[in-house]
Symmetry: D3
Subunit: 162 residues, 6 copies
């Protein structure tokens, strides 16, 4: 075959799903977090169940868990992972910040950081969607990995959390 | 962190994908069934391949098997399961009842009851879709689990079937 | 081209998505219904929010609405429909029957019967999934179209409902 | 029908896809933005194309646009929208902040705010995924709607942007 | 905002879903074709329905039509299109070539060429999958657009077909 | 149960996902290839990054890898496979042929031939989509399996490649 590579376009930056075949299966967990800043009144209405599109947190909870299962369909180079557990919690920090945390587990050759981050991101977007008619200026911030366990790179706890 | 839980909304009824990490992998099977009641003439046309949208059972068969693979994408708290086998059968019960049965297998930490139930439900809906122009009053009934094997809760056979 | 058709296999029963191009857009609505028969105790626990996987009806509600949007991805010959409204209601009929009803609307050239039927079917399957650890013998029955409006075939109300 | 509503569980907080049938179609646009804070070295490697999983921004661009098309599949009460345009831009703000902006357009009865927000969120998560082996502490912040046009509620420009 | 563009990476080759808002809706059709070259014996078994995984053409037909509906989910910069019709035909050309043709229609601002091409490609892959245990060396060739109508660029008929 | 089988329609050609439960997990690899024939000028513009929809190969690369992960959702009787690696390469053969090759790996009971074939097919379709405004007559050909390893049927190398 007389083949000339399109190397200037293709070689250097070529994206791939990296090879993890043969890696050992270990217990993997990850916890991620997002903060949603909103008007005091919006928070109050969520608390009291007075948002006309429905129970904001119940819907966001389901959306986050379902999104965790879609992670490999959303993030191009992410390996598919058979999730073994997914849980989402909501907290208030003062009167204007709603915190969403997701904890995901599996037994797998790759970790579940992206699954936890996807869960909180989609849960936060769902809160936005449910409340946007009353508070278009909500901001989602501080989306990050709080901790993870398992895998070759070992355990990790974000410094602010230690 | 000064955190106050939204417990009245969120804590008690909080939905989650329950933790099955570390559970042993076993052979799992499940058989589910639905009945579709239709006009005698509708059944006759299915039998004879005279439904204008196409071969009803061939399409329903494919739909049911593909739906089994989408179960975790449809049922929010369902764990993703790597199916190892899926088969669908159609039977007649008299002249007005079409029965659809699905048998699903895997080797996994969770069972495949929902996969079998999703397969028969979507196969039945597909029969409805293919025939609705000629019989809008079809009814899908008796969707249930006939049997399952494997897992901690052990084997199960529905009483009517014993 | 010397072409011989595979007519014995392919021609007669060939499935297709029927041609609806050029059909007029009209307001379409559809209402569908399923009944879930369960143990009295299961119903009681749903009512009281004492099912360990979470708030059964909140999750089933979200699952049903999301499934309505996936209808064309589940039912092979179904046209994609841009839904304009989807709502799900739960009722009790006595102590052992939970009823789920879905009402769907659009402005489109095809109807939304399949979307309403898919919504109730997946909502019912979700109820099964949330409760199956405590009541494996639940049965989903009487899934049917209660009414529809719009389109060339006109309005329809199921006789038992008139 | 002797029907008793499960009102304490279901009625008040019942989520629904609100009815937008019959609303007029107008041109809709939305611009959303996220910021990704990372190590200086990570930014440098993205700039130079030295991230081993591939060209970070090219992959994130595709991921964001594909995610915009999946919005109604991710956000439960979101109406499906036929997108007419989707574009994503990346900027640097100093040496440690990568900004992602998405602009989405359609002609529709509902807006595309959620599509723009989903695009930037998934693009940002993809940046995280591509770089997480070298910078696990990246944070995604300031995800918000910058502007929108069209629809009954009229145009909107976020104050900081005016 | 002090913003410096990542122009060397991002600007020139930046992929986008091009803006088609405001374009007029017209009737669109497209016909595409693939050829699958196989062993004479494989063709014979397809004809006779003696392939153990099932009726090859019935399954490929459904797969092709369902894939047409997924086009915008597969092809990154493709606009979502509400299909109004999809049909697939199989022909034999001699004893070793199975031809698959797809015809797709819509009323839309963009065309359906990609939908027709996706339909034949996935139908052909499905034929491969159903028969691969008996004929691993099948080749799919000549996948191309045979004709299209509608849109600003006007009608097109591939020369060999005129 | 008085059951009469719809055997003339259903039994012989009944499609199923064949039972692979209990089969041993082995390392599986597959390499597939497609050729895209185009005008010399089209190739030149791809090389130079002068296609207005964006960087053709970067987008096709991502599309192919994401499609590999969707294989079981596209090919009806295909078992879901947890991919462990996916890589795509582009080559030129002369001035008018662009070659796309995909290499996929897993540790599984079934092989990844369909995943590799799906990856090259969707990557090729994406090249078509990105360039169709300038070259509607492109043809995708020679899509086939080049090699595979693992599984009961053993290793395979396509003859032309030996």
């Amino acid at each position: 075959m007389n083949v000339e590579k399109l190397s200037h376009i293709n070689e250097q930056g070529r994206a791939r799903m990296v090879d993890v075949s043969g890696k050992p299966v270990t217990r993997r967990t990850a916890v991620a977090r997002s903060r949603i800043r909103m008007k005091r009144e919006t928070m109050e209405r969520i608390r009291q169940g007075r948002v006309s599109k429905g129970d904001v947190l119940a819907v966001a909870q389901v959306a986050g868990i379902m999104a965790a299962k879609k992670t490999a369909d959303l993030i191009p180079m992410c390996h598919p992972v058979p999730l073994k557990s997914a849980d989402i919690r909501f907290y208030e920090e003062g009167d204007e910040v709603l915190v969403v945390e997701a904890e995901v587990k599996t037994d797998n050759v790759t970790g579940v950081e992206m699954e936890a981050l996807t869960a909180v991101s989609v849960a936060a977007l769902t809160v936005y969607d449910m409340c946007k008619a009353i508070d278009r200026e909500m901001v989602v911030s501080d989306t990050c990995l709080l901790s993870k366990t398992g895998g070759k790179s070992g355990d990790f706890v974000r410094r602010e959390e230690k």
